[in-house]
Amino acid sequence: MVEKDVMITNRLGLHARAAAKLVNLAGKYHSHITISTEQICADAKSILGVLTLAAGKDTMVKIEAEGPDEKESLEAIIDLIENKFGED
């Protein structure tokens, strides 16, 4: 299992379309991937799950991945978040 903390830095936070991009990306990998705040842990492949995090700008989230492509999936998701979901 691999994990990494990352800050949500885009202006709108983990809003609906950003969450959709994350879920689409996570869905391309075979690993089990979760995204969590201090309070809530969600399946990164579930749009409604990811939205329950209500993670606004400057929220720290933890990405955890476990499975055959865990490293690649973790890197890709961290990239997406660090690149502000292609926004701003």
Binding site: A16, K21, Q39, I47, L48
Partner: protein, 137 residues
């Protein structure tokens, strides 16, 4: 695969569907439709049109989930005329989370009857009184 038909007042169904598609980053999927009910609709004529739509979807898909906006309203009353156990199920109080979940479940190929409870639960869970959680943040 079951079909999805959103039956709602005015443009509400079209807008819900359009919004769900934008959130899911997709074009309108096959087998998901909106059936707008005009504010001044003639019940009998509209029922006739809905009968045709439902018959067409049933012949192509075998089962349909009808999502309506307001229990007791005309769209729901019209939809209720279409109820057929195991073939046409109606869930009222549609919101965006229910519609998104329905579209996701539809793609998995799950049978209509198996996802009804989950859809109702997801719709209810998605209603959050922010003051209940804000203290935890």
């Amino acid at each position: 695969m079951f079909g999805i038909l959103v039956v709602a007042h005015g443009e509400l169904g079209n807008l819900l569907l359009d919004t769900a598609n934008k959130i899911l980053l997709q074009e309108t999927p096959e087998n998901v439709f909106s059936f707008p009910i005009a504010w001044d609709c003639d019940f009998a004529k509209t029922k006739e049109a809905l009968d045709k739509k439902v018959d067409k979807m049933l012949s192509e898909l075998g089962s349909i989930l009808i999502l309506t906006d307001l229990f007791g309203g005309t769209p729901t009353n019209l939809a209720m005329t279409q109820f057929k156990k195991n073939k046409v199920q109606i869930l009222t109080g549609v919101n965006l989370p229910i519609l998104i979940k329905a579209i996701i479940l539809q793609k998995t190929g799950v049978a209509l009857e198996e996802c009804l409870s989950e859809l109702r639960m997801k719709g209810q869970e998605a209603i959050v009184l922010v003051s209940d959680i804000i203290g935890e943040k």
